[in-house]
Symmetry: C2
Subunit: 329 residues, 2 copies
């Protein structure tokens, strides 16, 4: 009877799940909308149904589920299976998710922060395969960060480490949702890109975007900024350069602090790689300590949306018996 | 025959050495000027003489030297005993200090970065005794940083981790010696304090310092700023508040990244503790992620100049056989 695991990536927008072999092959993928606005109870119900559905399907094929790993958009108290804070899942604060799930599901479940799961996924099967110590940033609506030191996630004392998106880069910078201001996230995320574009347009600068959005500038998305930049729009290109510059400052800080061998950048914003990475490297060269900064490789994530589910499975395997177990297959 | 170790703190200004029992009691202290301008050869010669002098003295008492630990103001490649970069010891770049010393000294020698040695000293006998994961900053002429994670120094891949003094806090900030600008060091070090005071005086602000330095403002020292602030000088008090604010931004970044249980602040600048710490805590509260930021304790270092030599001995003991050896005594 062959064994498999389920990896779940529980985000504010989608719940992604995958059936994964212990060697890391994805056997099946499912994605459903989170519909977080329906409240915690409804989301958990759908989550349980989703997992049971996969289990039933693979059970019929004679495959045995050995565990579930779950990456969650929020701060996790690992030892207590507690979601302590989640800006994207309203009402989940201090929610004992683990206890709730174990009431209905009769196999080992392991929780991890979603950005950490992504970092572990890239380590297992992606851009971080050969690295022992690296950082993985996900540049999406916000910015997630996972720090891997000596092959393990650095969780910090409460499990909340890795919040590079909320390090201050400019004390006079614009406000951030987190209550601070001038955070990396307000420059180098999709939200940050939109903010910078709107700011420049409101200052009276011209852009082809104005026509595209029929002057409803609130409708502008980061994707539209990207498309216009590719089409030669100077304002949009300038915004990506500025975004790249701030990203470089944040990464140089990370390098000077932790002297990492690699930084992996993932998330939708990295589609615009060529539009920002030059400025990023320039800032790192200027602000990073040698020799550390010279040797740190900056590279693109490889796994896309699969990183989170794979990393969650990797984490579950570690907890289930670690290296030994993975090597066995 | 009782055993002891020698701890050395090799700085740009002084070489401090101490004979230390394996349980961490300081048996003897010696300090001589580094006189780095005489060049590497002369400094190394004096260093060897210093160590031999201690060995002779304790040898007469029938005590046996088991090892030497050395903290050095520079980036150290640990595995190769190499000083790769040292802003305060000119001409020491890529110097194989370990090989040179072992030619003349016939006992185990271990090198460490000086800020890391200080962090280890505070962990062994000082403010970090009970903490497993913390950061120790030395606010002196510059800013040194040592990061301890799970009871061990985080060295990074090259041994250069911990440069929190050279993380950027303001991309529009004044230039730093490191080639970047807006680094924490230009705000929260003695040099930074002097810089801020001169800037404000040149802008035409009044201060009792002008009289004290007889209008030779280049003669102003951080100590004079401190004394004037204590005497009620508003400009000087304002500078310490500003310094505290920037320090708080840097510490909040550190907390959000690493979720540490403790931050230890040492160095001469911490004499002015009450003049800046309020602003520091305010910034951490504003910018630090809860729950991490709430639980991180900010505390004063306890060991002063002894931290470096004690930490160097601690490091040597670790290398010589670790926990076991220390417990044995």
């Amino acid at each position: 009877m062959s064994e498999y695991l389920i990896g779940v990536d529980l985000g504010g927008t989608n719940i992604r799940a995958a059936a994964v072999s212990p060697s890391g092959s994805i056997l099946d993928r499912i994605s459903i909308p989170t519909q977080a606005y329906q409240g915690r109870r409804a989301v958990v119900k759908r989550l349980i149904e989703l997992i049971r559905g996969i289990e039933e399907k693979f059970g019929k094929k004679g495959q045995r589920l050995v565990g579930v790993g779950m990456g969650i958009a929020g701060a996790i108290y690992l030892n207590r299976g507690l979601v302590s804070r989640s800006p994207n899942l309203e009402g989940w604060e201090n929610f004992k998710l683990m206890d709730r799930l174990q009431k209905y599901l009769d196999f080992p479940i392991f929780l991890e922060n979603d950005a950490n799961a992504i970092a572990l996924g890239e380590k297992w099967k992606g851009a971080g395969k050969k690295a022992e110590s690296f950082c993985c940033l996900t540049l999406g609506t916000g910015i997630g960060g996972g720090i891997i030191l000596n092959n393990k996630i650095w969780h910090g004392v409460d499990g909340t480490a890795g919040e590079i998106g909320h390090t201050t880069l400019d004390p006079q910078g614009p406000p951030c949702n987190c209550g601070s201001n001038g955070c990396l996230e307000i420059y180098a995320s999709a939200t940050g890109i939109k903010r910078m574009v709107l700011e420049k347009i409101r200052e009276g600068n011209k852009s082809s975007l104005l026509k595209k959005c029929q002057n409803k500038i609130e409708d502008i998305t980061a994707k539209m900024v990207y498309d216009s930049a590719k089409d030669g729009d100077e304002l949009c290109q300038g915004v990506f350069r500025e975004m790249g510059r701030y990203l470089g400052i944040g990464l140089a800080n990370l390098i000077n602090l932790l002297n990492l061998e690699l930084i992996v950048l993932g998330g939708k914003v990295t589609q615009a790689w060529n539009l920002f990475i030059g400025e990023t490297r320039k800032e790192i060269k200027k602000r990073g300590f040698t020799p550390s900064a010279k040797r740190t490789k900056i590279t693109k994530a490889k796994l896309g949306d699969d990183a989170g589910v794979l990393g969650a499975v990797y984490f579950a395997l570690e907890k289930l018996g670690g290296e030994q177990r993975r090597r066995q297959y």
